[in-house]
């Protein structure tokens, strides 16, 4: 289980909890503080992205569009992890190419179940 997952959130404490959950399960983790930072760190060995929605510099929707615009990452799973729960925003994420939507707060076992499911 050496897959690499990127966690994107402007909150350092959320990134810390996501990273702790994933590393405990054996995943490698790359952290980014917003969409712009994430795109700059997106490399060939990233297998999945978990991103917040509302972030400075570049939000989650634009990040997804940026990821999907790159051929190498067109199909990697990108899951939103956000406090946002409006149906409209969810649809917007889905249209942009999101793979799934998790509303905070998450439980570690839930996050890992999602990762296992989408990384199959």
């Amino acid at each position: 289980m050496n897959k690499t997952i990127m966690t994107v959130d402007d909150s350092a404490s959320v990134r810390q909890m996501v990273a702790f959950t994933l590393k405990n399960a054996g995943y490698q983790v790359i952290e980014a503080s917003d969409g712009k930072d994430a795109l700059s760190k997106l490399k060939g060995d990233v297998h999945m992205v978990i991103t917040d929605l509302n972030m400075p510099n570049m939000d989650g929707i634009d990040l997804i569009k940026g990821i999907r615009a790159q051929a190498a990452f067109k199909f990697i799973p990108v899951v939103m992890l956000t406090t946002e729960s409006q149906a409209g925003k969810k649809q917007e994420g889905k249209d942009a190419g999101a793979t799934g939507w998790i509303v905070k707060p998450f439980k570690p076992e839930q996050l890992l179940a999602v990762v296992q499911k989408v990384l199959r």
Binding site: S13, T82, A98, W101, I102, K104, F106, K107, Q110, V114
Partner: protein, 641 residues
């Protein structure tokens, strides 16, 4: 009113009228002032009051949101510290769990299984060995030997009498041969020969008597030894078997307890995992509540800006003022509830975090106690008891071997005595035969001598008879010795088997080997238990320190409570001046705010307040998670597209 009068009179305005960035009051409207002076218009008192209240409220909101949000955001470093500690605690707790599980596998593992099996085998062996032994037979054999001593003494007395007779006959023969003179010369020799042979019988008899006496002493000593051996065997065998039985039971209990403990430790480890999971859930509320506070800040800042942006001249529309005042009242009421909701959710999350950490600490302590009890040191420790028991068994077996050896030595001496006696008896037998031969020759010679030799003939016959008697007695003695010999042989074989180390030594070696292994296991288990206790103790201390450090949450909660109270004051301040806006416009605007919320919890608070109810925590929580129908079975806050 007084202020209004002053201003109307053109007197300097009081500070209460000063707006930010402007020195002009509402009566900066010169046209209106003229109209009032001419009596053509009334001073617009009500609108000014509402405006003032709104302005006061707006000033009261200055830096309000920033203070609450700022203080909250500044605590991120504390959350990051806690997050790092949580990861550390999780790793250390799992390590304690692993160590505890390893400890239980040691105390239920291969060494213990082997020892149980060995003890069980030896128990069976001892039981069957004890059943085979017929200790009473050995004593009976010994008593048979002891009784021979007495009987021999009787028979040897007969030999004494016989020898006395022979002596008397010898004297009589000498006298008769002297009376006969030259015809009786050969008979004197006969007498001498018989006397010499009689002396041999005396010597041999004395030897037999001496040996018989020795035999009595030896059998007495052997009897004592045998009783001691039997007592020791019985005692040690019974004690050994009981001890082995107890040891076996203790081992089986240890194994069973270890397996149970392993299961329980696994359960405790799962609880630790769940508690860590709950802690991760709680830690996210720093970000969630920060967002909620930012929304409160945004809303209060917006309404403050709206009030401060009201024109301060003739462009001011009274209706607009009323609208703004009502809007301000609505927004502040809502934000008061949002702040209250944020405070309650944050307090609950921190309480949950506190409890989760304490649960981890208590489960870790339980795991360490459970596993540690398996490795209790000292005399009360199960492994120590077993080790002592096994050493006792080995010592008992060695004692039996030693006692058997002593017995074997005694029986060897008995056999030697019997051999010596047999030799003496054969000597007497030979002597008897010689005497008989001499007597027969004498009888023949006496017959040839005629009438004169008649007395000698009688003497010769008497001597012959004595020799026959002697032969009879020797046969009796030989019979006795034969029976004794058989008993002696049986006892010797028994003592050899008691003392035989061939059967005992391998058992002893096995038991001592197992004792060494148990000792090593005991030391290893004790060391691991101690290390486990220390690790658990250290971890518990660290967790409790982290729990204590959660005190930083109280100033945050208090700040939110103060903010709530402040908004409450402002709402009360504005409240009396609220009039329903025309057409319910501000209600519609308030409802529009709903779309700006990101969290379901915020929307629920909003709807509860607009509906007249107090935002409930439960409603907020329901809003937190019920985002989807959980089509993927991953939770109702998750949806996969």
């Amino acid at each position: 009113m007084l202020l209004l009068t002053k201003s109307w009179l053109g007197l300097p305005f009081s500070p209460g009228w000063v707006r930010s960035g402007s020195n002009r009051g509402l009566f900066g409207n010169t046209v209106l002032r003229e109209m009032v002076r001419e009596g053509m218009a009334n001073p617009p008192v009500a609108v000014e009051q509402e405006t003032q209240v709104a302005l006061d409220c707006a000033h009261g909101l200055e830096a309000f949101g920033r203070a609450v949000v700022g203080e909250f955001s500044a605590k991120e470093k504390d959350f990051l510290r806690l997050g790092a500690l949580l990861a550390q605690f999780s790793d250390e707790a799992m390590a304690v769990s692993r160590q505890a599980a390893e400890l239980t596998s040691l105390t239920s593992g291969e060494t213990v299984q082997e020892t149980t099996s060995l003890l069980s085998e030896n128990l069976k062996r001892l039981r069957s060995g004890n059943a085979g032994q017929d200790n009473m037979d050995e004593l009976v054999e010994l008593e048979a030997i002891a009784s021979v001593g007495g009987k021999l003494t009787e028979i040897i007395r007969e030999f004494s009498r016989l020898v006395k007779h022979l002596s008397m006959l010898g004297i009589a023969t000498r006298i008769e041969s002297a009376r006969l003179g030259s015809s009786g010369m050969g008979f004197a020799t006969l007498s001498d020969d018989v006397e010499k042979l009689a002396l041999k019988i005396v010597s041999a008899s004395e030897n037999i008597l001496h040996r018989a006496h020795e035999l009595t002493v030896q059998t007495k000593a052997a009897g004592e030894s045998l009783r001691a051996i039997h007592a020791a065997q019985k005692g040690s065998s019974l004690a050994t078997m009981e001890q082995l039985h107890l040891d076996l039971h203790a081992l089986e209990q240890l194994s069973r307890k270890s397996r149970e403990s392993a299961g329980e430790i696994s359960g405790l480890a799962q609880i630790v995992g769940s508690s860590v999971s709950e802690a991760v859930h709680s830690m996210q509320f720093h970000d969630i509540i920060r967002q909620q506070l930012e929304h409160v800040d945004e809303a209060t800042s917006e309404v403050r800006t709206q009030v401060l942006d009201l024109p301060d001249d003739e462009r001011l529309d009274p209706d607009e003022v009323l609208d703004v005042v009502a809007w301000m009242h609505g927004v502040l009421s809502l934000q008061r509830s949002q702040l209250g909701n944020a405070r309650a959710r944050f307090a609950e999350a921190m309480q949950d975090l506190d409890e989760s950490l304490r649960t981890v600490a208590s489960q870790v302590e339980q795991m360490a106690d459970m596993a540690g009890s398996l490795g209790a040191q000292g005399a009360n420790g199960v492994l120590s008891q077993i080790e002592n028991g096994v050493a006792g068994v080995a010592a008992s077996l060695r004692e039996q071997v030693s006692l058997g050896g002593k017995m074997a030595t005694v029986m060897k001496d008995v056999a030697d005595s019997i051999r010596e006696m047999s030799t003496s008896v054969f000597e007497i037998e030979e002597v008897g035969s010689e005497i008989e031969l001499i007597a027969i020759n004498a009888s023949i010679k006496a017959a040839h001598t005629g009438e004169e030799g008649k007395a000698l003939g009688v003497l010769a016959s008497a001597i012959q008879k004595l020799s026959v008697d002697a032969r009879t007695h020797t046969e009796q003695v030989l019979e006795l010795l034969k029976s004794v010999d058989q008993s002696s042989e049986a006892l010797h074989s028994a003592s050899v088997s008691h003392s035989s180390s061939e059967a005992a030594e391998p058992v002893i070696a096995e038991l001592l080997g197992e004792t060494e292994q148990l000792k090593d296991l005991d030391t290893l288990v004790a060391a691991r238990a101690e290390a486990l206790r220390r690790a658990a103790g250290t971890l518990n201390g660290e967790i409790l320190n982290a729990v204590e450090s959660l005190e930083f949450r109280h100033p945050l909660i208090d700040a939110m409570a103060m903010g709530e109270a402040r908004l409450h004051e402002l709402v009360d301040q504005v409240g009396p001046y609220v009039q329903q806006a025309k057409g319910g416009r501000h209600s519609a605007k308030l409802k529009e705010m709903l779309k700006r919320y990101t969290m379901e919890a915020e929307r629920l608070v909003h709807e509860n307040v607009l509906g007249g109810g107090v935002a409930s925590l439960e409603a907020a929580h329901a809003g937190d998670t019920a985002v989807s129908d959980d089509p993927d079975g991953l939770g109702d806050n998750i949806e996969l597209f």
